[in-house]
């Protein structure tokens, strides 16, 4: 009787693994299949070289570059905001802050990532953009600058928290060795602790990038919906994610080429985040080995 119970529980646990893996594979399969059909109708060369993305207009162009540039531009701005801030916070918390302060501030910072992104989106649109327009008069109401900045704020805890963990994991003995040779706290932090924690810090940055690239709501609300092949942060752009939302919510006919564009865009996005995650996973594995 007991044996049967054990057996059933084991199978039950195993089946949840199976279901999850199955669903994931299913999603990838649908994505791949629809994207494959898309590329039967649109050449892959056009997809990667055409600088216009106008599948919803009469003059149709299927160049992913404008969406890609929108995604990379907003993500780049986000990282430019989040990296210096997040890393500074991580270093401060790990090397300088009193224990008590660290313990209270860390969960508070992590709240930043818990705010619903739709709130961030509106914050970018109705607070940050008008504020920035005070300095940059020709800033459009929709632009990648505000969206990127606000997204950067959202991903700060990814970098600060994970890099703080990595810095904190560096053995105290290394700091002692450095102090013992006459190094200041600052020298020790930047010449010993940060390099020793570099793999963990890189992982935190990659996860943050991956999060920024996949972020949808903020950019859909604040960056606009105009695919534009540009690096100008003051004009409206459209990211891959925002485009997918736009089409999914629109009245595009199922099975049409227009409909399949979202799968082509989706698989592009997926490949990006997949590569980033794989890369961070491999770094993490190497890093674990070193500290074991």
């Amino acid at each position: 009787m007991r044996k049967i119970k054990e057996y059933l529980i084991e199978k039950l646990l195993f089946s949840s693994v199976l279901i999850t893996v199955g669903v994931t594979l299913g999603i990838i399969a649908v994505l791949g299949f629809e994207a494959f059909r898309f590329f039967n109708e649109v050449s892959i060369v056009e997809f990667f070289t055409d600088t216009q993305w106008t599948p919803l207009f009469t003059d149709k162009h299927y160049g992913i570059l404008p969406l890609l540039s929108g995604t990379l531009l907003t993500s780049f701005i986000a990282i430019a905001v989040a990296l210096p801030l997040g890393l500074s916070i991580g270093i401060y918390l790990s090397e300088y802050a009193p224990k008590k302060f660290r313990k209270t501030i860390k969960p508070l910072l992590e709240l930043l990532a818990a705010v619903p992104t739709v709130v961030y989106g509106f914050f970018a649109l109705i607070v940050v953009t008008p504020f920035l327009q005070g300095f940059i008069p020709n800033l459009s109401s929709f632009n990648s600058l505000s969206a990127g900045i606000v997204m950067g704020i959202m991903i700060i805890p990814f970098i600060s928290s994970l890099s703080e963990d990595a810095l904190h994991a560096v053995p105290y003995a290394l700091r002692e060795a450095s102090y013992g040779m006459g190094a200041t706290k600052l020298q020790t932090a930047f010449k010993v602790v940060v390099p020793a924690a570099s793999s963990g810090i890189i992982v935190s940055i990659i996860l943050a990038i991956s999060r920024a690239i996949g972020e949808t709501m903020i950019v859909a609300i604040a960056a606009g919906q105009q695919p534009r092949f540009t690096l100008d942060p003051t004009v409206p752009v459209e990211t891959i994610t925002a485009y997918i939302v736009q089409v999914s919510l629109g009245d595009v006919q199922h099975g049409s080429v227009e409909y399949r564009t979202i799968f082509a865009a989706g698989i592009t996005l997926f490949v990006f985040t997949f590569l980033l995650n794989t890369y961070s996973y491999s770094i993490r594995k190497k890093y674990q080995q070193r500290y074991e």
Binding site: A173, L174, Y179, G180, M181, K191
Partner: protein, 273 residues
């Protein structure tokens, strides 16, 4: 800005009376008490240490050897609950005066720890670290110093072809000699060692003991050890501590053959009490 040898000598103002590099230092300890919070770890210790000698600190676990040793390079400063009273003079200068620059002091007083703690950098970068943080940029000078320090630490022959290799790939004994080389590279005048061989095998241990013997020609050395043979082999003077007090301090020969106190005798002969 390049800093030359003379400038380094100039910088050694904290404990050096002369401008001569590598003059071993003498240490005077006056009425030193240490507390961790309410707990008194060091009780009224007085002690004079002569230059170019090896002094062994012995005593049962928890008696305050490490605490006392770490007073000399002010390593305890980072412990919040730590409080110290009294004077420690190195070449006549009280290192606990307000205006003392702790970083400068530590360039003069090197420390080797119980567990080898090389940086996760190359062998070369480990040894060059102390020079680089002093702002020295002269490549040739750094290369010379690194080689010299590795030779002094008796590690050069084993690593000279692999200076770019990670220090973490070395064996424990090699790592500890690397840590000694790292300390020697900045040419301190005092070297503090807290059980430097307790994590090592007998061969590595005897290598380091020989090394200490060589080093005392140029440095003043204080070593904490739990190994009585080691203390008697390598030290000129021995200090026996017991629950925060200095029970006996004198020539190693005397302490090991004819100690004044019963406690010392019991400890040395293995009747810990």
């Amino acid at each position: 800005m390049e800093i030359t040898m003379e400038k380094i000598a100039d910088k050694k103002t904290v404990v050096h009376q002369t401008n001569e590099v590598n003059q071993a230092s003498k240490i005077e300890v006056k009425d030193v008490n240490v507390w961790y919070g309410d707990f008194q770890a060091i009780k009224g210790i007085n002690m004079n240490i002569k230059p170019n000698t090896v002094t062994a600190f012995i005593g049962p676990s928890g008696c305050g050897k490490s605490t006392f040793l770490r007073l000399f390079n002010r390593m305890n400063d980072y412990i919040d609950t730590h409080r110290m009273e009294g004077k420690i003079k190195i070449n006549g200068n009280n290192i606990y005066k307000k205006k003392v620059n702790v970083e400068e002091l530590r360039k003069e007083i090197g420390m080797v720890f119980q567990k080898p703690n090389p940086f996760p950098k190359s062998i070369f970068e480990n040894v060059a670290y102390g020079l680089k943080i002093q702002g020295i940029k002269d490549k040739k000078f750094i290369i010379e110093r690194v080689e010299k320090a590795l030779k002094q630490a008796d590690l050069w022959e084993e690593v000279k072809d692999n200076l770019k290799k990670s220090a973490l790939a070395l064996s424990g004994g090699q790592q500890q000699r690397l840590c000694i080389a790292r300390t020697l590279a900045v040419e301190p005048s005092i070297i503090l060692m807290d059980e430097p061989t307790s994590a090592l095998d007998p061969i590595s241990t005897s290598k380091i003991e020989n090394l200490i013997f060589e080093l005392k020609k140029k440095y003043t050395i204080i070593i904490v050890t739990h190994n009585m043979q080691q203390a008697s082999r390598i030290s000129d003077y021995t200090a026996f501590f017991y629950i925060g007090e200095l029970i006996e301090f004198g020539k190693t020969k005397k302490i090991f053959t004819n100690p004044e106190h019963k406690r010392t005798e019991n400890y040395i002969t293995g009747r810990v009490g």
